[in-house]
């Protein structure tokens, strides 16, 4: 079987519309994961007697179990949990198998990223020297002001580069959602392969899309980083 560059080209065009969708979905699940993870990090640093151990166990579980296993668990449980909620919201009965796997995937990945990001953010918050907070208190800031204006911005400049690395992970991890019929960049290639009954070219086109996307995003990130460094935040 020969490699047909025309099949690859049309596969490429077939896959492209899935790109914005995937890029946004990855940004959404990681963004929500970061917000949730920041909350968890703050709670864990506060060493709450009950919450801290509970969160620690959950974070350890989520980071240890492969994402694909979690997707399968979620796919067979989340719809049953979500159905009553959606029914109440819609005012009509929604059956578990009417719940879009899209929402199941979103919820799962948000929790998945929250677990990773909580550790990431916790490390960054702890990396800000205690003296920074103490100096803020010593000139009359409230604890809230000290965190908002001094500690969080410094922690942010520490985690920002890792957020970007995780974003590329998040983007690629969405490919796992093909197993539950959510169409991302990879699922689009998979569908096209079935349509034309050829395997090599669509998947090669898919790899090319991922690669180019990664290059473009990285270039964009470097520009952002350079402008932040100029403003002294990353110093």
């Amino acid at each position: 079987m020969t490699f047909d560059i025309h099949v690859m080209a049309s596969a490429f065009l077939y896959i492209l519309p899935a790109v914005p969708r995937t890029v946004l979905l990855a940004a959404f699940v990681l963004g929500a994961g970061i917000v949730l993870g920041a909350g968890i990090a703050v709670l864990r640093i506060g060493r709450h007697r009950i919450l801290n151990p509970v969160l620690a166990v959950w974070v350890s579980f989520t980071r240890a179990v492969p994402a694909i296993v979690q997707i399968f668990i979620a796919y067979y449980t989340v719809p049953f949990l979500l159905a009553p909620v959606l029914s109440a919201a819609a005012g009509a009965e929604v059956k578990p198998f009417d719940v879009s796997p899209y929402w199941t995937g979103c919820l799962l990945f948000i929790l998945y990223h929250a677990a990773y990001q909580s550790e990431n953010i916790r490390g960054a918050l702890l990396s800000v020297p205690k003296g920074q907070y103490e100096a803020a208190m010593s000139i009359g800031m409230t604890p809230g002001q000290a965190r908002l204006h001094i500690v969080f911005p410094q922690a942010l400049s520490v985690v920002l580069p890792t957020f970007f690395t995780y974003y590329l992970h998040a983007l690629k991890a969405l490919a796992l959602l093909f197993t539950i019929r959510v169409v991302d960049i990879f699922s689009a290639a998979d569908i096209y392969a079935a349509l034309v009954s050829r395997r090599t070219e669509p998947y090669a086109a898919d790899a090319l899309v991922y690669w180019m996307l990664c290059l473009i995003l990285t270039a964009g990130y470097h520009r952002l980083e350079a402008s932040l460094t100029r403003r002294g935040r990353a110093g």
Binding site: S138, I139, G140, G232
Partner: protein, 251 residues
């Protein structure tokens, strides 16, 4: 009326008692030097005065705020903290803020001024320590001596009742010590009350109106610099001064 009074301050870390009943007073405009061997509790005592370290017992009164630490509310502790500012051994300038912002922060967040009100006042403080040229640099771009001069401007800007300084020159290369001591002299000449923990004996003798000698969590001896440096009454004070003078001659 004393501007600062400390009564029977006690503090333990675990079962190690570090402060064993510290009492002293400072009048407005006093410059009090605190001397003593390493590990005696000087830093701990200073950090208790602005409640960065919470004392187990005792009373601290600064200006119009008096707090009994046996039963003090968060609100009282915060009010006490607002009476003073601190200059740290390792500067602790806000790394994400420019030099100017560092000095403005106490005015904007501590005193509730607008940025427009705070900026000229902050520039004035920077000029006092000869750092106005560096207003728009970040701390990482400055030498240690320059950072500490900004630290002094930052502590001075809100015009607190008392400035607390913990070994402000001991993290500096020797050639940078002089410029920081000059900045402290200028601050003192404004008549602001200062409590300085220091190992700079000659400087302490020149600048102080009062000297406190601490050992093992207690105030062993206190008095005017003339008395402490030239006619100490306690054997512990004599031994300590002899050791310090030998070291200064070697260095």
């Amino acid at each position: 009326m004393a501007i600062l009074s400390v009564e029977e301050l006690e503090k333990s870390f675990g079962d190690r008692q570090v402060l064993r009943g510290i009492s002293f007073r400072a009048e407005e405009g006093d410059v009090v030097s605190v001397l003593g061997p390493s590990g005696t509790g000087k830093t701990t005592m200073l950090r208790c005065l602005n409640a960065l370290e919470r004392p187990d017992a005792g009373r601290v009164a600064i200006g119009s705020v008096s707090v009994d630490f046996r039963h003090a509310s968060k609100k009282e502790v915060r009010a006490l903290r607002r009476q003073s500012t601190m200059v740290f051994q390792n500067f602790n300038l806000f790394r994400n803020h420019t030099v100017l912002e560092n000095v403005m922060d106490g005015l904007v967040y501590g005193k509730g001024m607008t940025r427009a009100e705070a900026e000229p006042l902050a520039m004035e403080e920077l000029a006092r320590v000869h750092m106005e040229q560096a207003a728009h640099l970040y701390p990482a771009e400055l030498s240690g001596g320059m950072q500490q001069r900004v630290g002094i401007a930052r502590a001075l800007a809100p015009r607190p009742e008392v400035i607390l300084l913990d070994e402000p020159t001991s993290a500096l290369d020797p050639e940078l010590v002089g410029e920081v001591l000059d900045a402290i002299r200028k601050a003192a000449s404004l008549g602001i009350t200062m409590i300085i923990v220091t190992h700079e004996m000659r400087f302490a003798e020149q600048i102080s109106t009062k000297v406190l000698f601490m050992a093992e969590g207690r105030v062993v001896e206190e008095g005017p610099p003339q008395q402490i440096f030239h006619h100490p009454e306690q054997e512990k004070t004599r031994q300590f001064l002899r050791r310090m003078l030998e070291r200064e001659q070697e260095g």
